[in-house]
Subunit: 301 residues, 2 copies
């Protein structure tokens, strides 16, 4: 038994990719979609991201047995409120948000009569909007389900099967643990990248033009991450504040230790640190979580 | 008038790529090479990275009119000393090091009778060793020359023409300015990446296995940079200590400001910061310094 009518609220990178992946992998499932932005709705229609682009979230959700919210964390509550009168009581409510405690709270508060099973596909690119989605975004990526205590195991399995059909691998954990894991594998890296790109832009003695010209020395990698959607990332840091601040504290301690090693010219400490981080990269490639080619396989450009 | 015999000391990623690029673009130039590591010399011979792999640096340099040192900054002095008795007095001495003040000092001290014109092609990958080099590494990349005051302009032009023949674009600046520019576009990004990969590895409540599984949320990008050669990077931080510490200080100030914005939940500060960093990415792509495709064009893996 699979879902037959899936409503996608928010038609950007994630929502659009879900719509396209459903069409490619679950031909029998009918999709409806809505986005607050009229230009996004129009473009979603042109790209046929879903079978039917609706004029309201309520209309999109009216016949759904699965509703997936693909909006920034801070917009989840309002989006859920918008379907509260129309969504069938049996419909599973899910999402793709990068912070699970705060989002689960918002969805459950607005839709107390529906089963809420939050999910987070750990996948994305730096691009956003109705043109950014593609059908293979979730292939080989992990999708983390964070069902609340007491969730119906059959519905959890059904949601897992849905994501597996889109190419993802499934993992389950509680929402609090998810938020700590993602604080280190996603939120802290974005915060650091946003910071360093800002630092480089504000220097007086090194021009912006020089920063851009010589960015192939490493800096350009950070600019990709720092080109991610600013609204979404503002919301992520506000919604996962405690875990992010804790990971940031540890990062700062480690950075201070390396800073000291540079200041006192302790080459052995630097070498030992730099030598052990290689193994992490090797494991990521062995486990299919990154491209094995040098430089991510960037083409000569 | 171009160089006719080029000696490459150090046959890793950079040295090997120069050798291959010379064969592809400057067929009339004869190359010799040496590496301290016998296994690297053997592999360099198998891949024909240079026309002739020699048994000593002195032999490789004996008939050269251009010697390029492609060894870590901390190994420059010893490598230069090794050719002091054999290199012709008219041969131009150059290098590819990422710190120019310290390297220029070392080369000039060891080879006081030769013209020394340091250079830095801003290009590389996370891979190292005799298998890592490829002929197109320098294409569309900038090569920065840092000739000392009083350098012969004809020799500087000749060295610039050599790098242009390998596909690079040429810029000149003084060594001190180079070291500050690279501190922000290359050295600080590497230090940050090495730090965060270490921080993630040391957590107790989030396992190494979880860090690897969910690395596609952003973390994996940092692991690529943190997989770079640990000996070279130890040397870079020791050789460019002052500029790196200064840029690190500014980065820490900016990070503290964003940390505070998260703590007091000031979404406007976060949004403003995150919105302006997108423009830097756009300029880098417009100027051909990165791949325009989403996610660097990583293939589904």
């Amino acid at each position: 038994m699979s879902f037959t009518r899936v409503a996608i609220i928010g038609l950007g990178l994630l929502g659009g990719s879900i719509g396209l992946a459903v069409r490619e992998n679950l031909a029998q499932v009918r999709t409806t979609g809505f986005d607050l932005d009229p230009a996004t709705r129009r473009r979603a229609g042109e790209r046929a991201l879903v079978d039917h682009v609706c004029d309201s979230a309520a209309e999109a959700a009216a016949q759904a047995d699965l509703v997936i919210f693909c909006v920034p964390p801070g917009a989840m509550a309002a989006a859920a409120r918008a379907i509260a009168g129309s969504v069938p009581g049996h419909a599973v409510i899910s999402d793709v948000g990068s912070c699970k405690l705060a989002v689960a709270r918002a969805l459950t508060a607005e839709l107390p009569d529906n089963p809420v099973i939050p999910a987070h596909p750990v996948a994305g690119t730096e691009q956003s909007g109705a043109d950014a989605g593609f059908a293979t975004l979730f292939r080989h990526r992990w999708c983390i389900l964070t069902p609340p205590a007491g969730a119906d195991p059959a519905l959890v399995a059904k949601l897992g099967a849905f994501w597996e059909a889109l190419g993802a691998r499934i993992e389950q954990m509680d929402a609090a643990h998810h938020d700590r894991v993602l604080a280190v594998t996603s939120h802290l890296p974005h915060l650091i990248a946003y910071t360093i790109v800002g630092t480089a832009s504000d220097l007086e003695e090194v021009t912006q033009s020089e920063v851009i010209k010589y960015s192939a020395g490493g800096f350009r990698d950070f600019t990709r991450i720092a080109a991610s959607d600013p609204v979404m990332w503002r919301d992520v840091f506000l919604a996962n504040k405690d875990a992010v601040l804790e990971m940031l504290q540890r990062f700062t301690e480690d950075l201070t230790a390396l800073q000291r090693a540079i200041r006192v010219e302790d080459g052995a400490v630097l070498f030992d640190h730099f030598a052990r981080t290689r193994a992490v990269r090797r494991s990521i490639i062995e486990q299919g979580q990154d491209d094995a080619r040098a430089d991510f396989g960037r083409r000569d450009h």
